[in-house]
């Protein structure tokens, strides 16, 4: 346990607050990704990839301590509210995904491919995105907004294709954090 705050030197205090800021980076980055999904580009087929899902998935895979389930719940609430979906669809599925990734992700991937490799992570993300889309369709029909599965399937495809871009962005953020801290 470190010294009490009042005994810390000024640069130690800066380090203390910087620690909180660094821990908040995954949350902020994922919220920015969710807000970026509301870009006013009008397409008839929903080709906007689910960047919030990718952000939560990637952070939960690589930094499970920095993406706890309650944070995924908050991000899910923000996503539901911004996209006009019934409140609770993303808010339930994102924490479930975080818990699933924590419990079975490491075992599933490490047993087959060794440690994290790019392709194994991408395949794992494909699997998780597919299950997420099916569950989202089920929850949407529970919440009363039922419809065809095709638009969600197109969004799942775009999300899988957008995985490299998002993973590159998050890796750059991660390296920047490690270089600074």
């Amino acid at each position: 346990m470190t010294a009490p705050y009042r005994l810390l030197a000024p640069q130690e205090r800066v380090r203390y607050w910087r620690g909180y800021a660094e821990r908040a980076v995954p949350a902020v980055v994922t919220l920015v990704l969710v807000a970026a999904m509301t870009v006013p580009v009008f397409v008839t087929v929903p080709v906007i990839p689910h960047l919030g899902l990718l952000g939560v998935l990637i952070w939960a895979n690589f930094q499970p301590g920095l993406m706890p389930p309650w944070l995924a719940f908050v991000i899910g609430v923000v996503a539901d509210v911004l996209f006009g979906l019934p409140l609770g669809v993303n808010a339930t599925l994102l924490p479930v995904m975080v818990i699933g990734v924590r419990l079975i992700g490491a075992r599933l991937v490490a047993s087959r491919f060794g440690d994290h490799s790019y392709i194994s992570d991408w395949l794992f993300a494909t699997l998780v995105i597919g299950v997420f889309t099916l569950a989202e369709w089920a929850l949407l029909s529970i919440a009363g907004t039922s419809g065809p599965f095709a638009p969600l399937a197109v969004q799942a495809g775009t999300t899988i294709l957008a995985y490299p871009a998002v993973v590159g962005l998050i890796a750059r953020v991660q390296r920047r954090l490690q270089a600074l801290g």
């Binding site: 409140l87 818990i99 419809g147």
Partner: protein, 299 residues
């Protein structure tokens, strides 16, 4: 066997307690998510404040970001305008002459229409323009087809108003924050617009289908088939959309008929928001049933 029994070190117990608390918090989070889901099926309105606050936060971001892109776009358009100007100008002059002649006919028809309305004493509600705004956000992620505009309560925009562009109907406002509002586009599954088929005069309902085309349902006189190219305009039924606003054009006449909306949000810059055609009438408060003595009545 150890005696006295050794206590677990405090660090291990602390970790166990933290893990237990983490599990409880996770369970609570999941339960809250499921509860929200079930509540949103039962009462979909309770999160209105949260939604309007979120729209207010996100919309100004896109309005600011659009600035440089719009300048670039208009600059590119400006350069393109100089190419092929002379033939275009000649053609525009020919079209202009034809349109002026049509305009004279139109003025005559409008005058005749007005005099006939006065003769028959038709009461037309006044179309009130509330605000003109640009798109500042969209949610084309999955089923919900909504857009955000940068006009809200402080510009007079409230929920339940008509949104149209110059080519046709765009949708209606469903939520309005203080400086941004959310529009339900025609292609959203929750969007239902009462329409009339112009050629046959049949009333129908144009329902969004989460795709590119609208479905034309509940058509009165469904045995009369529609033709490709039939135009649908609002009928004014329901009191929200004013009549005679172009909505869609039929592209597939097989049952159920599908129509392509006239207004494509991709190609639209500005939208105009109008008040509801027939706003809900103000019902006067119930008059007291106890008779008022003559002396107490106001003169």
């Amino acid at each position: 066997m150890d005696w006295p029994p050794t206590r677990r070190t405090s660090y291990a117990r602390r970790e166990q307690n933290l893990a237990l608390i983490g599990a409880v918090v996770t369970g609570a989070v999941l339960a809250t998510g499921l509860l929200l889901l079930i509540l949103s099926r039962v009462t979909p309105i309770y999160s209105l404040r949260l939604r309007t606050a979120a729209i207010d936060v996100v919309a100004p971001f896109w309005t600011t970001i659009r600035g440089p892109f719009d300048v670039l776009g208009s600059g590119v358009d400006g350069v393109g305008d100089y190419i092929g100007t002379v033939p275009r100008a000649r053609q525009l002059a020919i079209e202009n002459a034809a349109l002026r002649r049509a305009l004279q006919d139109h003025d005559a028809l409008a005058a005749e229409n007005r005099s006939l309305h006065r003769l028959v004493r038709v009461v037309e509600p006044h179309l009130g323009l509330v605000a003109v705004a640009r798109f500042a956000g969209a949610s084309s992620g999955s089923y919900a087809r909504t857009a955000m505009v940068s006009a809200g309560n402080r510009d007079g925009v409230f929920a339940g108003q008509t949104v149209r562009a110059d080519v046709g109907l765009v949708g209606r406002t469903v939520e309005a924050g203080s400086h941004a509002a959310r529009i339900l586009l025609l292609t959203d599954p929750n969007s239902r617009v009462p329409v009339l088929v112009v050629r046959t005069g049949q009333p129908a309902l144009a329902v969004g289908a989460a795709g590119r085309l609208l479905e034309v349902r509940d058509r009165l006189g469904a045995e009369v088939p529609l033709l490709v190219g039939d135009r649908l305009v609002t009928s004014g039924a329901g009191g929200l959309f004013a009549p005679q606003i172009p909505v869609a054009t039929v592209v597939d006449a097989r049952e159920p008929p599908r129509a392509r909306p006239e207004a494509d949000p991709v190609a639209i810059d500005f939208v105009a928001i109008y008040r509801a055609y027939l706003p809900v009438p103000e019902v006067p408060a119930a008059v007291a049933t106890v008779p008022v003595p003559r002396e107490a009545r106001k003169k």
